[in-house]
């Protein structure tokens, strides 16, 4: 399958500070790729380079098989959607008028506005003025704007950071729809549950370097310890090692009817991140 994004040894220096160092990855068509890391780890810088808003200091970055800086070409920009941390909405205008502008810019029929507002659960609020919206609603409007023209490649920088679980679920459903239509998604987040739920592969970025890359399930397996936890009827948790000895103990507990629940001790993505970087993801 073709690579939509290809990055080789990417580096970015600001004055004397290294923002990115030897970053390499590929993203295939239709893939949802999570770029995970704490604030200041280089996630937004990577998005800026990939969307031609910033030039790299060294290395190569290709989007749609062409150097990323060629996305400055207006015709190419129609193929991408970008959601950044700043809303970039016109505060005096209504939700509808904000999206209407982008319909004009992307040559999209106005009927699409209701479709995207449905996706982000804002269809009944279309006439509301942006300045009167809550942070979460504003976030959903910017998402609707990024979805509006059904981009081939979508960059989402912390898309659900201001949303409650119900509205996050709306966004996830919307992203699923885009994915079904073949949209490639580049997602930065520090919400590990979101990454596990949405991403086919994730990369851990720390201090400008990729530390680990792979599918979430595979990474959890790779970093799992060889134990399971058994909750007993007296409230105690017993940790059993996998293998004959653990199996015998488990058999004994089961036959004595003492087992309340059994949990595998696979780490979360957050646990893995802390293990390899020694830093928390917030």
């Amino acid at each position: 399958m073709e690579n939509i994004i290809e990055v080789q040894s990417l580096a970015k220096l600001f004055a004397n500070q290294t923002a990115l160092e030897d970053v390499s990855f590929q993203i295939k068509k239709g893939e949802t790729f999570g770029f995970l890391g704490p604030s200041g780890s280089g996630k937004t810088t990577t998005i800026k380079i990939l969307t031609a808003q910033m030039a790299q200091t060294d290395g190569e970055a290709y989007v749609f098989g062409r150097p990323a800086h060629l996305l400055k070409d207006p015709a190419q920009r129609g193929r991408i959607g970008v959601l950044t941390d700043n809303s970039g909405l016109y505060e005096r205008l209504s939700i509808y008028d904000n999206l209407k502008l982008y319909c004009g810019l992307y040559n999209v029929p106005h009927s699409r506005i209701d479709e995207v507002l449905e996706m982000v659960n804002l269809k009944d609020e279309r006439k509301k003025v942006v300045s009167k919206l809550s942070k979460g609603m504003t976030q959903r409007v910017t998402l609707a704007r990024a979805f509006l023209h059904k981009p081939d490649l979508l960059f989402l920088d912390e898309p659900t950071s201001a949303l409650d679980p119900v509205n996050s679920r709306h966004i996830y459903r919307g992203l699923d729809q885009l994915k079904e239509n073949g949209t490639t998604i580049f997602l930065t987040t520090h919400d590990m549950n979101e990454a596990e739920l949405l991403c086919d592969r994730v990369a851990f970025l720390n201090k400008g370097k990729i530390q680990l890359i792979g599918p979430p399930k595979q990474l959890r397996k790779q970093y799992a310890d060889n134990t399971i936890s058994v909750e007993l009827d007296n409230g105690q948790i017993e940790v059993l090692e996998k293998g004959d000895k653990g199996a015998q103990r488990m058999y004994q507990l089961m036959s004595e009817n003492k087992v309340v629940s059994v949990n595998s001790n696979e780490p979360t993505l957050g646990d893995i991140f802390v293990e390899i970087t020694g830093r928390k993801l917030s």
Binding site: Q53, G78, T84, N86, Y90, R92, D97, Y102, G104
Partner: protein, 235 residues
Amino acid sequence: MTFSLKRTLAIFQKDYKDVSKNMYVSFTVIVPLLMAFLYGMQGDMGVDMVYTVINMSLSLVGAYIQCSLIAEEKEKNTLRGLMLSPASTLEILAGKSLLTFVTTILVIVFSAMIIDYQPENIVIVGVAIALSTLFYIGLGTILGLVTKSVMEASVVIMPFFFLFTFGSYATLLAERFPVLKAAEYMPNTQLIELAKEVQTGAGFGDIWSYLAVICVWIAAVFILSYVTFKKRMMD
């Protein structure tokens, strides 16, 4: 380079709706009209007085409003959205300038009606004012792009407002201070000189040099605003 009228008009329509709810811009538009009313009450006005009002309209509406609109787009981070869309630099700049152009021309027309200014040759004066408006829009665009907020833009524009509204009076002191002769080549002075010639019956053949100087100013500000915009596209 691509140019889509649809995209340009989409930006224009958005600006129209946005500006109509912007009290700050509405107030700025009224100021030249108030000045025209006050000057008009004095009765018969010379060309210099008439063009003080017209140059004020140009610098206050053409440059100041354009500068504020661009600065606000930057401050609110909305310009980034336009830059990341398929709209080209030319479409964005044209879309952002169209509303200012129309507003400036309307303010000048109403001001001229209030002070009862009737040029001998409306076509020549119309062309000169339209060209001058382009210069002030270009100037406002550059200043809007280099400032970070509407507040900063309001301060930065002030010297230019005074220079292009009252700067032509500096030529009166040119004999004592030869350096002030340079003011003769400013676009506002050129517009006044052109208007004076037109009132004495001059035609296009007599005033082309004034238009040429104004066109040079337009070319300079538009090249500079295009380059500044391109630079602003990259962090």
